[in-house]
Structure formats: C-alpha cells, structure tokens
Assembly symmetry: C2
C-alpha cells in the first residue's frame, strides 16, 4: 500500500495562496509567484502537454512525485478554481481544462453528488460526499500500490492532517513573503501534527523539505 | 564593513516564540522546544561556559555565526527576559546572568536611558534610546569589520527588516508546529522584504536556510 502524501509550495511566511482568490487568480494576489519555480521545468511542462523546459534537480523531484502518485484527493474549491467557480450544474467542468495535469483518478470532496467525469489524458474526477476517511479509502483503492496525494486546498490538507491520515509532508518553500492569504497550518498546533525531518533538497528557487508525520 | 544579519530559529509554521511568554518561559509555551537543536552542541555549550557537547555540522554552523559577529542589537524585552522582566531600576541586570553568551558589545533599543553595564566574558550592554538607524551605526562602530547581529525579539527584527537595514537572514527551521505565539514575519509582506536564497544546510534536527535580503 502506498503512502498518503501532502506536497505543496509554501511561502517562507507560511502561505500557500495569497489574499482575495478569484477565478482569474485562484491562488490569490501574488499566489502565482509562489509556483514560479515550476513553470519552466521539463517535468511540469510535460504534464501540461508542453515540450521543452529545464531538466534539473527541481524537475526530477517533481517527476518523482508524479511517478509515485496513483490518485489525488482535493477539495471542491480546488476542483472548481475557488469559491466563485463552484456550480451545482452536474455537467459543468472544473477549472482544470479538458486535459488536467493529474493524469490519475482524482477524488473531489464535496457536499454535492455528481457523476464521475472522465477527462483526456488519464484524469477522472469522482465526487465523494462523505468524510475524509472514506474519500481516502476509495482513493487508496484507485491508487493501488502508489501514493495518494492530498493536493489541497489548505482546509482539505488541514482536515487530513488533523485526522492523522497523512504519512508524509513535502514542502517546497519559496524564498518570499506573501504577508497575507491562506496559511497552510492555520488552526493546527503541536498536538495536531508532529514531524520528523526526512530530507532537504536545495535549489536556487525553492527549498524542498520532506517530513514524516509522526502518529 | 561587516554585514547586518538576522539569525533566528523559527517553527515550520512561522513562530519564533510560543504563546504567553513569562519570566519563567521567556520564549512562551513550547518556545524552548524550538531551540532544542542548540542545547547539546559543543559551540553552544562553550558559549555558555560549559564543556562537552556534540561537534557536528550544526555546531560548526553556530560557531561560524559566533565568530563573524562583532556586535549584537536587541530589543529591551529580549534584554530583560520579556515584558514582565523590564524595570526602570538603572542598576538592575538583564535576564542573561553574570556572564551572558554574547561575548561582544550588545546594544539594547529602549526608551529608558541607562549607563552601559559591563558583564563577565566580554559582553557589555549599552542602551540606545534613538531609532534603529542610530543603534545600527553605533553597533557597526563597535563591530569593526565583523557583522552586526540583530538578535530579536520579533518586533526588533521586523523594524530592521522594514527599514531595509538587514543584509542577510539565516533561519533555522525546526520541524515542528507551535500553532500560536510570536510570528517572525508578522506585519511584513512582499513589498517590505525580498529574498534571494543563498544556502541551505540540512541536519536531522533543523534546516538552516540563509537568504540575502534584496534592496
């Protein structure tokens, strides 16, 4: 059985999105800058159906995550590109276009029943209306021997951390302050999460730090 | 001329002290745990007049900071061990005992005039009642070719960062959440501080990340 991993980019002051997220800026003001380290990478571009890009340590590390992921869990806001993007129309697509970059089964936590949507390139969206434990069980089933990635947003990650469902946390810490927005660890404290450092990989654009979540 | 550096231990969720600091727990609840990586180190023990300890990469890195520091700037709460520790008695010592670990001239930002106190082991405390720029000028004078370390607390560090007076920021990121307390970057945003990663040093107990502060 694979692991349950959280893999997310955070500013040095603890934010994973900037303030005032909208459909135009789903990561809030300045939130796009957080992910600038990704856009030029070979493995990132491949996932998004584009050619070229840098083949460096960052790219390898991202490729490593892609390869080990067998299923993704996300909240409904991440699926729909923010609060304003959600619609009850069962036929409406998500924010991710015709060929989303996940390329594995994605399980969306929501209160609204919808049938599974199959996209191009290997991604499907299945809507799970029960609790995180159940969502995880079906995601594990789909992932087989591979890992389940809890992709976001923050409240979904916090729910999974608080419930003790996460095995590993990999943070890509970007050398910048956002000053406001969505904090990754909002509402969590030392009693909710205990960590043990596993690995740090340095790069000029971002520091990759991986932790085991201690039960 | 040396650099102006901030060198501080931060939890993964951005705190440099826990909640409810007191004279007994000047770093607040759980704040002492942040600094656990230090207590067993050879270079740390030496500074505190104790023998033994581990001579490892963490110890070398700390030694490097000690060696390069020619003067220290701190706020009055750091001098006196928190809000409750401050007294207007000009003869009262600070929180740091007879032989403080700084072993260089320390400049304390305060609204209260006091004469300089000379301690054992090379530390002196000089009280500076003007602005951070002036405090820095006298600290630079004392430091000679060496660096000036802006030691804390958080509000002093924030003042210096906001005023564009800091050249380098070294964070020792401890693999733990504090959940509440004093945030290092409280009130600062992308317009106040721009960073460029210089170096990451990994260790099982803490990740050392050093940044240049871009003017």
């Amino acid at each position: 059985m694979g692991k349950v991993v959280v893999d997310v980019t955070m500013s040095l002051d603890g934010f994973i999105a900037g303030p005032s997220p909208s459909l135009e800026e789903p990561l809030g003001a300045g939130g796009e800058c957080l992910h600038e380290w990704l856009f030029g990478l070979k493995s990132f571009r491949e996932r998004h159906g584009r050619e070229g890009g840098e083949a460096n340590r960052d790219s390898d590390l991202l490729e490593e995550s892609f390869r080990s992921t067998g299923a993704v869990v996300m909240g409904r806001r991440m699926f729909s590109g923010g609060e304003g993007g959600w619609t009850d129309d069962p036929n409406a697509a998500g924010w991710w276009g015709d060929e989303p970059p996940f390329r594995v089964p994605v399980f969306v936590l929501t209160h609204h029943e919808r049938s599974t949507v199959t996209m191009k390139g290997g991604t499907s969206f299945t809507f799970v209306t029960s609790d995180p434990e159940h969502a995880l069980a079906v995601a594990r089933e789909a992932a087989g021997d591979k890992d389940v990635s809890v992709a976001g947003g923050a409240s979904t990650i916090q729910q999974f951390l608080r419930a003790g469902l996460v095995d590993e946390l990999q943070l890509h810490v970007a050398p910048m302050l956002l000053g406001s927005g969505t904090r990754l660890f909002e509402g969590l404290g030392p009693d909710d999460v205990r960590l043990e450092a596993l690995r740090t990989v340095d790069s000029p654009r971002v520091t990759h730090v991986k932790f085991r979540v201690v039960r």
